[in-house]
């Protein structure tokens, strides 16, 4: 089973995340997007069970290679970085277009059975990329899996469970398919020293847009990848922060009084 797992290198949620000139500041304290660890874990476990290969794919600046390295340490077999200055400022849908081209190229090398992603990236949190990617690849999309089962032997039957918008659903598709997973689907492994060492000798490709030209057809590169542009970004200060009282027997009454005066 040949699996492509899409990952993203994002600013650590615990770091000083901020915008400058309308752009999210990257490259200071970036890590593999936490929700993508679950996708990598799912991919690696499936290949351990069914045999095959896991290719970790990302789009980003040169140092996004670090996210791929983490995926390789977790057991992915190969990394592919799509990096090009012309992609700066690409939004979620632009990213989906580029990743779809990279997957199409990989599929041309040898058929891809499954594409896995995390449910969202913790920088923009749009959750749009996976369904847009499935659209470009014409693959059935099973989103938000908190349980994932794969049965058969090429083509495989993929069954997921998910809870969304007040419904519990079980959905099924036949490979090739695209699945996004939540952080409840598994517990990502922590790579051992030997795995970290082995990762350094695994293949890592870097492609620019010219190398995707055969499979990516857009007239105007800048226009194609940035259909949304950030025109303003302002730090939000929570006002009224805060009266904090320590309970000495009447804090419940104070709380009620506060609610009655300020809110209700």
């Amino acid at each position: 089973m040949r699996i492509v797992v899409c990952v993203k290198h994002v600013p650590d949620v615990q770091s000083d995340r901020r915008f400058e000139d309308g752009r999210l500041v990257r490259g200071e304290d970036d890590v593999l997007n936490e929700l993508d660890e679950n996708a990598v874990e799912a991919a690696v476990s499936l290949v351990e069970e069914h045999g095959g290969e896991v290719i970790a794919l990302t789009m980003g600046p040169a140092d996004a290679e670090d996210a791929l390295m983490r995926a390789l340490q977790m057991g992915a077999d190969r990394g592919v970085l799509v990096s090009d200055d012309r992609l700066e400022g690409a939004d979620a849908l632009g990213t989906a277009l580029v990743l779809s081209a990279a997957i199409t190229r990989l599929h041309g090398e040898s058929p891809v059975d499954l594409v896995l992603t995390g449910m969202a990236s913790l920088d923009a949190m749009t959750s749009m990329m996976p369904s847009a990617l499935a659209c470009h690849l014409h693959l059935p999309f099973l989103g938000l899996a908190h349980e994932l089962q794969v049965e058969g032997e090429g083509p495989w039957t993929v069954t997921i469970s998910r809870s969304a918008d007040g419904f519990d659903d079980r959905l099924r598709a036949t490979t090739p398919a695209l699945v996004s997973v939540t952080d409840q689907v598994n517990e990502p492994r922590y790579p051992a020293f030997a795995a970290m060492k082995a990762a350094r000798s695994k293949p890592m490709d870097e492609w620019d847009l010219d190398e995707l030209a055969e499979v990516l057809h857009v007239d105007d590169v800048e226009d194609a990848f940035t259909a949304t542009r950030v025109v303003a970004a302002d730090a939000k200060v929570r006002e009224g922060a805060g009266t904090v009282v320590t309970d000495s027997g009447d804090a419940g009454k104070q709380l009620a009084a506060h609610l009655l005066e300020e809110v209700l």
Binding site: V13, R17, G22, L35, D91, A92, A124, M125, T126, S127, M128, P130, S131, A132, L133, A134, C135, H138, P140, F141, G143, H146, T159, S163, A164, D165, G166, F167, D168, D169, R170, R172, A173, T174, D183, Q184, D223, A227, T228, R229, V230, V231, A232, A233, D234, K236, R238, G240, G242, T243, V244, V245, T246, D247, A251, L255, A256, H258, E262, V263
Partner: protein, 331 residues
């Protein structure tokens, strides 16, 4: 305010079933209210059930209701909904497409944006028509920033967060015309099989994503949610929980708030035994008013709350409920 001169197409959600009838959801009514202010042309709704709530749609001044023929396809599959919506877009050629920013709405926005080659934005909190195109505001980085996006290409697809607009009936209600819409489904829509789809058991309270008031229990409840539920009932709000409570099996996963749970934007957020770790504040920081009770004086939630109590929630909450009830009785 500038408006667009093309119709606005609104994907509406309904609750209910064929037997008991279908009711327009509050977030969908909010979308329609917003839509009226965006356009000088018509507001056109899309309904994914055979018997849309025409009364409620009429009160929102909807001109036409498009009812795509889903055949045997399930509206729980985002590709099915997108194909249906795309057929409506082709027919109407709207200036903008709106949907609710629930999970399906985000999937549909991504897919429709890709299909149309259009710009899309989700979790939007306000929309404005400008000379240069549509401007969409949303919060970013766990609610610590506000960003404004300009949609530069195609037919903008916008998923609006519930509760950021107050639903209001139109001055002149309409009798919406119902129009059936044929749909040709893509291979991707055909490729997803729904084995089962069960509506989660209703708690009888207002739904979390729509609630004006949300009372959230955290680790500090030790699994006893009775004070959380009691305060939610006293405030006519919904009950939510942090991730650890769902992990521990204290509450169903469906009421988990945060990064991988429900995002809420209530008027009032009350955290009980919630310390306010970053993964949780992602889901609640856009609340207008934040109140917290937690026994840890160093809890991060005290840095962002409007009123906080360092104390035992099992003592503070019952006293607060009693005081609220007394005040109400005195009125």
């Amino acid at each position: 305010m500038t408006t667009i001169d093309r119709p606005v197409l609104v994907l509406t959600d309904h609750t209910g079933d064929a037997v008991s009838g279908y009711t327009l959801t509050t977030p969908s009514a909010q979308l329609l209210t917003l839509a009226r202010g965006l356009t000088s042309a018509e507001v056109i709704a899309v309904a994914l059930n055979p018997a849309p709530d025409l009364d409620a749609l009429g009160r929102q001044a909807v001109a036409r209701v498009l009812v795509p023929d889903l055949g045997a396809h399930s509206p729980r599959v985002s590709a099915v909904v997108t194909d249906a919506l795309a057929a409506c877009v082709e027919q109407i050629r709207p200036g903008v497409v709106l949907c609710v920013a629930n999970y399906r709405g985000r999937e549909v926005a991504g897919r429709l944006g890709a299909l149309l080659g259009s710009g899309a934005a989700v979790d939007v909190t306000s929309l404005e028509v400008s000379e240069e195109g549509l401007l969409a505001s949303k919060s970013a980085l766990a609610g610590s920033w506000t960003t404004c996006l300009r949609i530069t290409r195609g037919t903008p697809v916008i998923a609006l967060r519930p509760s950021v607009v107050t639903e209001e009936d139109a001055q002149a209600p309409t009798v919406p015309e119902r129009v059936n819409m044929p749909v040709s489904f893509s291979r991707e829509a055909e490729g997803v099989e729904v084995l089962s789809s069960a509506e989660q058991v209703s708690t009888g309270r207002v739904s979390l994503a729509e609630a004006r008031t949300v009372v959230v229990g955290g680790r500090g409840t030790d699994g006893d949610f009775s004070p959380v539920e009691a305060l939610a009932d006293a405030l006519d709000g919904a009950v939510g929980a942090t991730r650890v409570c769902a992990d521990e099996g204290w509450v169903p996963r469906s009421i988990q708030i945060g990064q991988t749970g429900v995002s809420v934007s209530p008027n009032l957020y009350v955290g009980l035994g919630v310390s306010g770790a970053i993964h949780h504040t992602v889901g609640m920081r856009s609340a207008a008013h934040v109140v917290a009770v937690c026994d840890d004086p160093d809890a991060p939630i005290f840095e962002i709350c409007d009123f906080g109590v360092v104390g035992d929630l099992f003592e503070v909450v019952p006293q607060a409920i009693e005081a609220l009830e007394q005040a109400r009785g005195a009125r």
